[in-house]
Amino acid sequence: MQRFRVLLRLRHIPLPMLAVSAVVLMGTALALVFFYAPIDGDQGLSQKIFYIHVPIALTAYACFAWGAAKAFLHLWKRPPGADLESYAAIHQGVIFGALTLVTGSIWARISWGHWWTWSSNQLVTFLILFLFYSAYFMLRYSVEPGPARANMCAVYALFGVVLIPVSWLSIRIANDYIHPTVFTTKGPQMSGSMFLAFCVSWAALLTLAGTMYRVELAGKRLDSKLRELRELLA
């Protein structure tokens, strides 16, 4: 409950302050990744991709989960704007999802010698999750705007959230030896300095996603108010 209250309070941070925080955190994260975190003994310099790839993937999961939470809220209490908020969060999730796939492919090419492998459950389930939420936009733009579209989109967004734990747990359940598992039941399998760089990177990307979400939402709201005004003046 306390954590939920903190999340609600975060919503009231002014947008410029959030944007400045994202820039500062990004700079700090880059400095920590390249000048503080040690070079991995096993993978060498290419392991530095971990600090961008994994936080981006976790941010994509967070965006999809936020979109599903807003969709649930829309179906449950029907507050005005919940459908738009769900849409904006899923849009951010798809952007971060695409970046996860691209950065992951680059890392796979240097580590495994392939851009993609179909034998890794983690990769395939993430691709399914990404394609599922990409299809959300096809659904949204093929139906006339209104309560029916909002309800359909909310139900679709809620179905997709089931894929998040499936994607997260797939490597643990199926003993995927290709995709590395860093976070185990024994905690993060990395040194303290590496973990600090990872946490700051994740905080930076979450703040960036939050800023992008708020900017997109403001743009969408402004667009709908202008449309309403145009109809009144016509």
């Binding site: 310099l45 991709i49 961008i52 952007i95 950065t103 240097i110 997109e216 667009d223 003046l233």
Partner: protein, 59 residues
């Protein structure tokens, strides 16, 4: 530049370019909203002027 360095640079550059592209899209959208807002303001101003003229004629 080693192969590892190239791949690491590529991964970080992809993210940077994606954020830059997003900023460019938002800037274009903002410019469109600004155009729409000034168009509506002009429409509202004309309407106020027209109603003012009508009031003068009726007096």
């Amino acid at each position: 530049m080693t192969a590892s360095e190239k791949y690491v640079a590529a991964a970080y550059l992809v993210v940077f370019v994606a954020v830059l592209a997003w900023v460019a899209i938002i800037a274009a959208k903002l410019a469109r909203l600004e155009r729409d807002a000034s168009e509506l303001a002009e429409l509202a101003r004309r309407r106020v002027e027209r109603s003012g003229e009508r009031e003068k004629v009726s007096v």
